[in-house]
């Protein structure tokens, strides 16, 4: 298709915290500064900036992309903000990728920021307006309803129990204990802890859910000729995919995310991957809830329908397993600042594939990884495949 090769050459992030003193602009700048420093670049090297951030309602600031622009280094540069809900964090690197693959730019900054704590009394309130104002909102729904009902449908369809799902939360929160930016790491958490935690919206319990979080992540993307000049360890973006299902969520198969399958197939085809279960060495599926990691692993074709819990039961998903899942600690462990959480997964693959993940390093010199996010009105899938 005449597309240019694109590599990730730098990455930086802030700590993920429940409530940051820094403003959204300040968080964006901190992550961006660190990312530029990591590849020894300055703003003079940057041709364009892509910004990913979720609802304006979190900040109470209309046109948040413009508000954040100076923190992201966007002034006097081509700048665009994208937003596909929770899928944003893995969509914005795709946007950066096509800025460069198209030949339009050589070096692009990809910034993702979220500050959820400003919304009072709880960030969940910002999500109420995702429900249809006429046919749903008069029923006074809350966001947990959707997740709880999707989780229940997934469990019922395949005969999966809470005991099958809890190991996801346990593995991710334990993995996060090795992440220096993690908010909810717990090296000692057990399945019993998850099963005994407070019931919020059955089947969702407290430890099945990722927390409200503030934080920012930035990566630097470069065309091949630049990437080879600035680093001897470029990590290439080998495949991208994104796909949308119906916004009438009650008209959809809630047990299986077909939109994730379509996004994954697009990315596998571009990356020329025929057998994903053998060719993907690390996977960072989107895990705002523990069952979502399983749901997405099945959509990504990395497990048969209804069988993803086995990856956790037999050790395949462990950091030293055959296909480590969320070695970062994921959203459940590191935290879930919506857009920044997805880009954190891309940054994790960058560090893992370069062998720079420190205590979190997956053994065996992994060659290829996949990051995925999900969002909008529960029906967008975004996928990036990276390799070295």
């Amino acid at each position: 298709m005449g597309m240019r090769k694109v590599a990730v050459v730098g990455a930086g992030m802030t700590k993920f915290v429940r409530r940051a003193q820094e403003t959204p602009k300040e968080l964006s700048w901190q992550a961006t500064h660190l990312a530029l420093e990591s590849c020894e670049m300055t703003m003079d090297d940057i041709d364009a900036v892509c910004m990913g951030t979720a609802p304006d309602a979190f900040d109470g600031i209309h046109m948040k992309g413009e508000y954040l622009s100076n923190g992201a280094g966007a002034w006097r540069k081509p700048y665009i903000r994208s937003y596909v809900g929770g899928g944003t964090g893995v969509f914005v690197p795709i946007q950066g990728w096509y800025h460069i693959a198209s030949g339009l730019f050589d070096v692009v900054l990809v910034v993702a920021e979220e500050k959820m704590s400003s919304y009072y009394p709880h960030a969940q309130g910002a999500f109420l307006t995702i429900f249809d104002h006429t046919t749903e909102r008069p029923l006074k729904p809350n966001l947990l309803w959707i997740f709880a009902m999707e989780m229940n449908r997934y469990m019922t369809t395949y005969g999966i129990s809470k005991e099958d799902i809890a190991p996801v939360s346990v593995l991710h929160k334990r993995n996060a204990a090795d992440h220096p930016c993690a908010l909810l790491a717990d090296p000692d958490i057990t399945v019993e802890d998850v099963l005994n935690s407070e019931v919020l919206a059955w089947p969702v319990q407290r430890l099945d859910v990722s927390p409200v979080t503030d934080g920012a992540v930035t990566i630097v993307l470069a065309a091949e000729h630049v990437a080879k000049r600035v680093t001897d360890k470029p990590v290439w973006i080998e495949g991208v995919g994104w796909n949308l299902d119906t916004a009438y969520w009650t008209n959809r198969d809630l047990a299986y995310p077909r939109y994730v399958e379509y996004a994954a197939r697009q990315a596998y085809e571009m990356a020329e991957i025929k057998e994903p279960r053998k060719e993907i060495h690390i996977v960072e599926p989107y895990d705002p809830f523990d069952y979502k990691a399983l749901h997405h692993l099945e959509g990504l074709q990395l497990a048969d329908r209804g069988t993803a819990p086995r990856l956790y039961a037999d050790g395949t998903a462990a950091r030293n397993g055959n296909m480590p899942v969320c070695p970062s600690g994921g959203l459940l462990g590191v935290g879930n600042p919506i857009a920044a959480a997805g880009l954190m997964k891309v940054a994790e693959l960058f560090w893992q594939l370069r062998g720079e993940a420190g205590d979190r390093q997956v053994p065996g010199q992994p060659r290829r990884g996949l990051a995925q996010a999900w969002g909008d009105l529960m029906q967008v899938g975004t996928v990036v495949i990276m390799g070295r």
Binding site: M13, V17, A31, Q124, T135, P138, W145, M149, R153, T156
Partner: protein, 172 residues
């Protein structure tokens, strides 16, 4: 990173930092008032509710019957202008027992949201509503339910014209 970056930025705060005045902050309330037009298809849906009937639309191309009604079939991208009356009974596709409100306040009696596949609509096609007149522990996927309507004179053309769905036996 972890091996190349020694210090990560970001300063965590606690609730105490606010209550003790360590952190200065500005509190404000934003308010927006709206009047949403119902549109063509949802207008029909609401007038159906006022009359005590659930209305869906049928796609002449793929023959799918959907609820709530819409003017375009999102699968075929063809007009969907055949309105059909559906039954006010259905099957619980999924549900939750929810013990928290929208602002994460705890409640002792759970709310019972459910997706209900409406009889006469295509498989897996449902609406979100709530269940009532049922022991929360008895609710299950596959349970047959029927709409409990407000009295005709109280109905306003709103989704809340159905108070809730309750279990029913075929012999009822």
């Amino acid at each position: 990173m972890t091996i190349n970056i020694k210090h990560f930025p970001g300063t965590p705060l606690s609730e105490k930092d606010f209550s003790t005045g360590k952190i200065l902050f500005n509190y404000d309330e934003l308010r927006g008032d709206f009047a949403w037009d119902t549109g063509i298809a949802i207008g029909r849906y609401l007038s159906g509710l006022k009359a005590g009937v659930l209305v869906g639309t049928r796609c002449p191309t793929c023959r799918k019957v959907v609820i709530p009604p819409r003017t375009v079939c999102e699968w075929c991208f063809r007009p969907m202008d055949e309105y059909v009356e559906l039954k006010d009974t259905g099957t619980v596709n999924t549900f939750s027992l929810c013990y928290v409100t929208w602002d994460v306040q705890r409640i002792s009696e759970p709310e019972l949201p459910a997706v209900i596949e409406i009889d006469g609509a295509s498989p897996l096609h449902g609406i979100m509503h709530v269940l009532g007149e049922v022991d929360p522990q008895q609710v299950h996927v596959g349970m047959r339910v029927k709409a409990v309507w407000k009295l005709a004179e109280e109905r306003q053309g709103a989704i809340t014209d159905i108070r809730y769905f309750k279990p029913f036996q075929v012999t009822d």
